[in-house]
Symmetry: C2
Subunit: 162 residues, 2 copies
């Protein structure tokens, strides 16, 4: 009984939480520095990080880039409503949205709309092309509402670790 299911909440103590809070702000922080911050030796920190990576608590280690500097200055939010809620059609839509690199995020939601997308594009022309491929080509898309982002006030994947 010592092995909980992979989806079950892992048993993390306050050391782990402190380490995670540092890593989700800056994962280039040396283990020695983390160790000093949480009052643990560097090897102890290293072993905890490795365990959390293997258990999936840490999903990935990534660099966050500035879209404007990379010629993709436009962020767009899209609410998508589907025709049929048949599960296979919903799953197909999920796969379709997830596979598009311009779709940064995709949420399947309750309420009037069925999906909420966050999209990054270089131009409105590029977005128009994307709507053809993603929405007009999918006969199960009944309606979609486009909202243009004026200011990316806050964009992170950080989780509140109280």
């Amino acid at each position: 009984m010592t092995k909980p299911l992979p989806t079950a909440p892992a048993d993390l103590d306050h050391f782990d939480l402190a380490i995670l809070d540092i890593l989700q702000k800056d994962n280039a922080t040396p283990q020695r520095v983390i160790g000093e911050a949480v009052h643990l030796s560097a090897p102890a920190v290293q072993r905890r990080i490795k365990r959390m990576e293997e258990s999936g608590v840490i999903e990935a280690n990534v660099a966050v880039l500035d879209p404007a500097r990379l010629g993709q200055p436009i962020t767009i939010l899209v609410e998508v409503e589907v025709e049929s809620e048949r599960i296979d059609l919903i799953d197909a839509a999920k796969r379709s949205f997830a596979a598009a690199p311009e779709v940064q995020q995709c949420y399947y939601v309750t309420g009037e709309a069925d999906f909420m997308l966050v999209i990054i594009v270089a131009s409105m022309a590029a977005y128009e092309g994307l709507t053809r491929r993603l929405f007009f080509a999918n006969h199960n898309v009944k309606r979609f509402r486009t909202v243009v982002v004026m200011d990316r006030v806050k964009t992170s994947l950080a989780i509140p670790l109280t």
Copy 2:
């Protein structure tokens, strides 16, 4: 004239783009491995990464965590409409939303609503408390619509680097 404004698009060649594409998937990739992938030596890769970090093309290096494993299994999207569009009140709202750790993302948008928020909470009770602090306590918030996420189909900050 060699120093463009910080917001101006940096001059990135295909080496830089290839490096960034690797880093935004896994920034723990050794520079030696990156070098082999892009046909460059490790020091060359290192100097390019450093330059892109200093210029701000790389905004941050972070670990992505699994919210469910951390006792925060609920993702909520909120559309917020404000009473007055006075710029000082809008800015105050931006600061207020950005300061809340439960608010993972905040976009200032066109259209009916004024803000779109992505929120991570442990429970609906916690969300109820957050609405009090964030929306009901702010007299400029006219209306907010809560949408509950059933499936986080795709959640990343990756930018399409074609």
